[in-house]
Symmetry: C2
Subunit: 325 residues, 2 copies
């Protein structure tokens, strides 16, 4: 049986690996689980497959220097950019990431944020708690039939598109790598950055790469229509945060921010008191059920790959390295 | 052309009647719009169709006493129970209600409330605003694949079922009037009240009729599993509110309450301070877009009825009067 090194702390293994997946792994591999305090990066040497997650230190390229490193790196977490050096691809290493599974939790967060802000639920809740009843100035809006602009057609965008299906929204996606045919297959249309920003709901789904830093500039924030709802669950540096906060404080826009620049953010008191904001601590991808599914999600693809060379949805395409999250 | 009396204040007409619908009505009827301060109930006499909404006083049965009352009552709002006496059906009057359109806004509210509470967004928002960052004890849950119990298969339940489709939930509906075939057509299954209350998410969709008052008793509240999310957008008296609030204060359950018994509610200070609650002022069915569509929704059916006798989805079936909202 192939050797599997589970290079994550016991606490993390309990977080990302369900009982069912543990059973499957024990059944199909000779598994080494990390002991408390064990050197996690050192576990990769000698294994056929190394299963990693948050907290696993970067895997040094030297592990593969003598041609004896693991053939597969399976990351039961999101981005693999800080985990492996792209040089490992030259050694024929196959890398898998559970980012596609995390994306579902992110999609649910985005829909939650859009609906909650559109209906002014936090403000109405504050009102009831402070003795108010009807507040006609806090009237809600429906999502059904609305225009929704997505920046980026990543896996989180696709999860949100799936969730938006029953709402019959007009979804316009700005992504230089999305062609019209693929957009049509997703049930959306492609558009310019300006078109996407002209929607009643705008959600960011871009990776943190040089091309997306400052993507939404001050000038772009000004293009967003009055009363629109902005959701950023992607990366803080993608938006001119100072400009966005100014427009929020002016009461012109509503926004749900799960990511900031920097993190944790140092937000001024007037921002922290603003009723136009929903602020969360970078948790869009973090749910109990979502995490528990991660090792199973990525290892199902690894098993198929070892049997037949098939590359499932979690396979990290070396050709997309520079534009991936 | 048939005579249409729009028996609502100009403010209400602006709320429920879009410019497009106004044009359609002027095109197909001789329309009388109420002047400010006009006697609204008096407008029905002599009209072929009377279009009503919130604020229209009850239409006295005497309007139909001489056989000359309107043939159609079209209510651009929800329940018609306080508007017309069921005796009007004996005069051959057709009654239409826009409750089915309002149901969509309610469905969006229910989904918003379920997602927001499952992800602990209000508590996480409070945390970020008071200087906290990660709060591992406030971990979110996914809705995907969860068990969802619906009490009542009304139009609001059906709107929510439509919105839940991409989540792949196991939806169990308790409704004595729902048979297994119709449930299967909706993509759900039928179950007992106890089964529906045993779900991770429980949402109420019952009308306020004698049979539903106290439907969820103290004993039933105890059956709801720890950590479940309860949404009541239906009617306050359907639940033993005191029992529910006790379980919420004990931290065992999360709940979104849009309706109360009585309304507005007088909630004790500990309830108003509870982080396990999302409190809104009976607005689940109230959105700008939803309201603006109401006259058009109900009058589209009225036009078909006048032309062909066809009864669209907004037709109020006299046979269902006693169990309708």
């Amino acid at each position: 049986m192939p050797k599997l090194a589970v290079a994550m702390t016991p606490e993390r293994a309990a977080d990302v690996c369900s009982a069912q997946t543990k059973e499957l792994l024990e059944d199909r591999f000779t598994v080494t689980w990390a002991a408390p305090g064990q050197d996690l990066a050192g576990m990769a040497a000698g294994a056929d497959v190394v299963l990693t997650s948050w907290g696993t230190p970067p895997l040094a390229a030297s592990i593969w220097a003598d041609g004896d490193g693991p053939k597969v790196v399976a990351h039961a977490a999101g981005s693999v950019k800080r985990l492996v050096d792209p040089a490992v691809f030259e050694h024929g290493v196959a890398v898998f990431s559970a980012g596609g599974r995390i994306a579902w939790s992110v999609g649910e967060y985005c829909l939650a944020a859009m609906l909650t802000l559109a209906r002014r639920l936090p403000q109405l809740d504050d009102g009831v708690r402070s003795g108010a009843w009807k507040q006609p100035h806090l009237r809600g809006h429906e999502l059904a039939g609305a225009t929704v602009g997505l920046l980026g057609a990543s896996s989180t965008a696709r999860a949100l598109i799936t969730l938006l299906a029953p709402f019959g929204c007009d979804v316009v996606v700005y992504d230089p790598y999305l062609d019209a045919d693929r957009a049509a297959a997703l049930g959306v249309r492609t558009g310019s950055l300006e078109e996407a920003l002209g929607c009643a709901f705008v959600s960011l789904h871009v990776p943190d790469v040089p091309a997306t830093r400052g993507l939404v500039s001050r000038k772009h924030v000004e293009l967003i229509p009055d009363g629109s709802v902005i959701v950023n669950s992607a990366r803080g540096p993608a938006v001119d945060q100072a400009a966005l906060l100014e427009h929020l404080l002016a009461g012109r826009l509503l926004a749900a921010l799960d990511v900031y620049d920097p993190e944790p953010p140092s937000l001024p008191a007037d921002v922290l008191a603003s009723p136009n904001l929903l602020l969360t601590p970078h948790i869009a991808g973090d749910t109990a059920e979502g995490h528990l599914a991660l090792a199973g999600y990525v290892m199902a693809d690894v098993l198929r790959y070892l049997e037949s060379g098939q590359r499932g949805p979690s396979f990290v395409d070396p050709a997309s390295w520079s534009i991936a999250a």
